[in-house]
Symmetry: C2
Subunit: 331 residues, 2 copies
Amino acid sequence: MITLSHGNGGEETHKLIKDIFYKYFKNEVLNQMGDSNILNEISRSIAITTDSFVVDPIFFNGGDIGKLSVCGTINDLAVSGALPKYITAAFIIEEGLEINVLEKVAKSMAKTAAESGVKIIAGDTKVVNRGKGDKLYINTTGIGILENAYISFNKIKPKDKIIVNGNIGEHGICILNEREYLNFQCDIKSDCAPLNKLCKDILSVSNNVRIMRDATRGGVATTLNEIVNTCKKSMLIYEEEIPVSQEVESFCHILGFDPLYVANEGKIVVIVDEKDAANVLKTMKNNPLGKNSKIIGEVIEDKSANLYLKTSLGGTKILPMLQGEILPRIC
Amino acid sequence: MITLSHGNGGEETHKLIKDIFYKYFKNEVLNQMGDSNILNEISRSIAITTDSFVVDPIFFNGGDIGKLSVCGTINDLAVSGALPKYITAAFIIEEGLEINVLEKVAKSMAKTAAESGVKIIAGDTKVVNRGKGDKLYINTTGIGILENAYISFNKIKPKDKIIVNGNIGEHGICILNEREYLNFQCDIKSDCAPLNKLCKDILSVSNNVRIMRDATRGGVATTLNEIVNTCKKSMLIYEEEIPVSQEVESFCHILGFDPLYVANEGKIVVIVDEKDAANVLKTMKNNPLGKNSKIIGEVIEDKSANLYLKTSLGGTKILPMLQGEILPRIC
């Protein structure tokens, strides 16, 4: 069990770090064990992102907080056109957590990082009193090397296509189902996955990608609203074109959720020039993490900077940014 | 008040980020507002460090969790010989925190960062349910540019001097006094401070600094033990030479603490060649954050890799690494 003394910076902390973190994460940078660790010169622009993960429960169908914390940061780098290289990992542990749970999470982080070619290069361990945390919170900060400085909100223009790389809403519904013990007879799995290879594939076939974003908290509708608000152009998406699995759709229908607002952890939206859209779509479909990719809409001539949905009944409505809270602590 | 919807990634989150974090932290990198933000090429080796801060209480005499989170990361970079340049800031907020408390913390972070020439370049906001956190936890990850690649454990040799930059134990005792409502009639202030200028001063007058470390959790005795364990040389420090204020000494005496194990947030230990020690000491004393600097001991000929204390009574004892927990959540 983790005790407060595992967070005191003394002997127990050092043993925990050695037995768990160095064991799974070891590499030549981390092994410096300095107050800070030194990276060799990176003679390129670098991309930086930080995220804390407070997901509840910490293990779920398709992943765990460790895998999520590595994928989330990798994806934030990858959508920016950067090659994810390094990640730091800082743990806030609630007193009483079993050490083998921590080890399972560390192992999962190491596996995901290795599969994605990323090194965990610095870390921190803090312990908080029982009842002042919830098992485990993880912060990951990522550094990537900018390979494709392609992103330009101001290149977004009418007729650009909007593509999503597969079925939406799976992460949020998976977490909800497991946390609330709804016990629906279903096997909805989180889509949690590292998307660096998919992003690289996309950028390798088109110089006209305007922007990519991962559609996490707030879902596809909120992510598209963020883009709309920044580029000051409107977008129209088609309800009929939005890929949703039968299970997620039924689940959302029963609970009154709109899958467009449910969190994903392995989905991106891509805005691309219409002339490259078919090629990008084909490339995405060839990647296992993009096999259900679909063009779901386009940028339109409209000065109001709104996101519109053409419903399956033929009407059109405005989709605002997510308001209020339906699914807390999904990441 | 912070609600769960401030962490949903939607409209409330965006408003909070805009009203608090962008307001105080704004700079050209942060303003990119990307999934990750892009830094210009750094044509030097870089230093990286990460730390989460879970201090209780979040405001204390001499500082607050915001100042602490910036200083802690700056100091980890500075002791490595790096010029602190960029910091990321990720917040885990407990539902129910007053927004003006968050604003006060953000303001304090911005002030400390500005004074130290550091930019806050990326951030994240998560909210956890009431009773699953404790007001506010902050992760900061820092990036520095390596200016002095001086550090070498294996250059440490007998007769090297050990210097500390002033009175020890003040941060830990300050936190303890305020948290436990001990109400001792005293004005012990945390020593929380950014030490980048002091570290730079030191490295500018000597090419024979072996290592610098900030003596935070576990205090000076634990920090020196870490060095001893890595360099496999022994060290001897003199109880009479260790700078401790009368107030901290009395406090420790009453409670049975040893100030050598109490946390600091503005103290470093410097190991330097004996021939440069006087000059380094003089330079340190000229910096306001080093005016009580003292040479407290030296590296000795002894294969056992121990830290020894020569007591004021003339005896010698081994000081081990901190074991157990006396002061949880002091940073």
